[in-house]
């Protein structure tokens, strides 16, 4: 491969390397100070070079076989990649996304920032509730409960005693009635 811009080095080199030397010569002429050969070739094929650099490089290509080959190879890759065309996006893509957003908006998902303002007032409220509950329990009349507990068996004993008395009374009355019924027959 022969490149007039690099003929002084007289070496067989790849297109990118040759173009690199071309870029160096560009740099010497103050046209493209930071570009290397690969960037020039890729940029030329992708049509992203500025007009001045592109025109200069095109003039070089007319003279340099190695750079022409490198450009042709890059163009082949470029057009081969074009074969991978766009796919059809599902028609319900937007609807699915909007449904998910609506779901999040309804609060189905944790959102950063929420706990900061939701939990901060909740903590003192919960603490106040616990304090109130404790105070209520402490102030509740425990002795009265004990008295009630003691009073309940007393009442029950009295009731039992009354009931037993009643039974005795009824038993006595019953005996008298039975004896009263039995006496006339005995007389007969």
């Amino acid at each position: 491969m022969y490149c007039p811009l690099t003929s002084a080095k007289g070496a067989e080199r790849s297109g990118f390397e040759v173009a690199g030397s071309f870029a160096e010569s560009f740099a010497l002429r103050g046209l493209a100070t930071s570009r290397n050969g690969a960037e020039l070739i890729v940029g030329y094929v992708a049509r992203t070079l500025d007009a001045e650099t592109e025109a200069e490089f095109r003039r070089h290509l007319e003279l340099c076989c190695a750079c022409r080959e490198a450009v042709a190879a890059q163009q082949a890759v470029w057009s081969a990649l074009d074969a991978w065309r766009a796919i059809l996006v599902s028609p319900d893509f937007d609807n699915r996304l909007l449904r998910r957003i609506a779901q999040e908006e309804r609060g189905g998902r944790w959102r950063p920032g929420w706990p900061q303002w939701r939990w901060r007032p909740a903590v003192p409220v919960a603490a106040a509730c616990i304090l109130l509950a404790c105070a209520f329990l402490l102030q509740s009349p425990a002795p009265k409960l004990a008295e009630q507990a003691q009073a309940r068996p007393k009442l029950e004993i009295e009731q039992v005693e009354h009931a037993l008395d009643d039974i005795d009374l009824l038993r006595q009355l019953g005996v008298e009635a039975v004896s009263a019924k039995a006496s006339p027959s005995a007389k007969i």
Binding site: F16, N36, A38, E39, V42, A46, T48, A72, A73, Q74, A76, V77, W78, A80, L81, A83, W84, R85, A86, I87, L88, V89, S90, F93, D94, R96, L97, R100, I101, E104, R111, G113
Partner: protein, 213 residues
Amino acid sequence: MTGHRMYAAAAQPSWNRGVKNDIAIASLERDAELMLRVRQGDQASFGLLLEKHRVPVVHFLYRMVRNKAVAEELAQEVFLRVYRSRDHYEPTAKFTTWLFRIATHLGLNCIRDGRNERFHNRLDNEASDGVCQQVPDRGQTVEQELVYRVKLREVRQAIESLPQKQRAAVMMHKYEELEYAQIADVLRCSESAVKSLLFRAYESLRTRLAHMA
């Protein structure tokens, strides 16, 4: 919006705030402007952003993970993240750079986790995942279609053989036409590193696809 900014906004008179916002928005690129409107609660602007970027994001992810269903699922996650971040959005970089940074992050994570492999249809199964799902090219003969399928398979295999970062860089450079600086921003590396990645990738592709020239 941060608490400090909310206070600052609240302290301004409403007419002044509106004028200042309009001036700020006018100086920004269109996408960033739309995103700022989304931040202000304008749902229609989100619809416009979705309309504009839906297809490139799905395509980018599809070429990364090679599965349409997974690519769409990831694209949904990308737009959800954009929507969720609306309150904290600052137009410090190009909107597309931010968008593709999210997409690349999700795509690379997906490949790393092997999630795409679980759903992955074989490369030679074009009937389910290849040509049929692409935008149809009307007017092709059967022979042309067959040649095209073979070519597509080779291209896909060549791209698949690239390392993940090189693949992502090629996708952004070739198909999404992002600038070197934007790709560097997305991949969080220097511009020269991006160029190096790209040129190595194109060199590999050139070797693999040389017979197609």
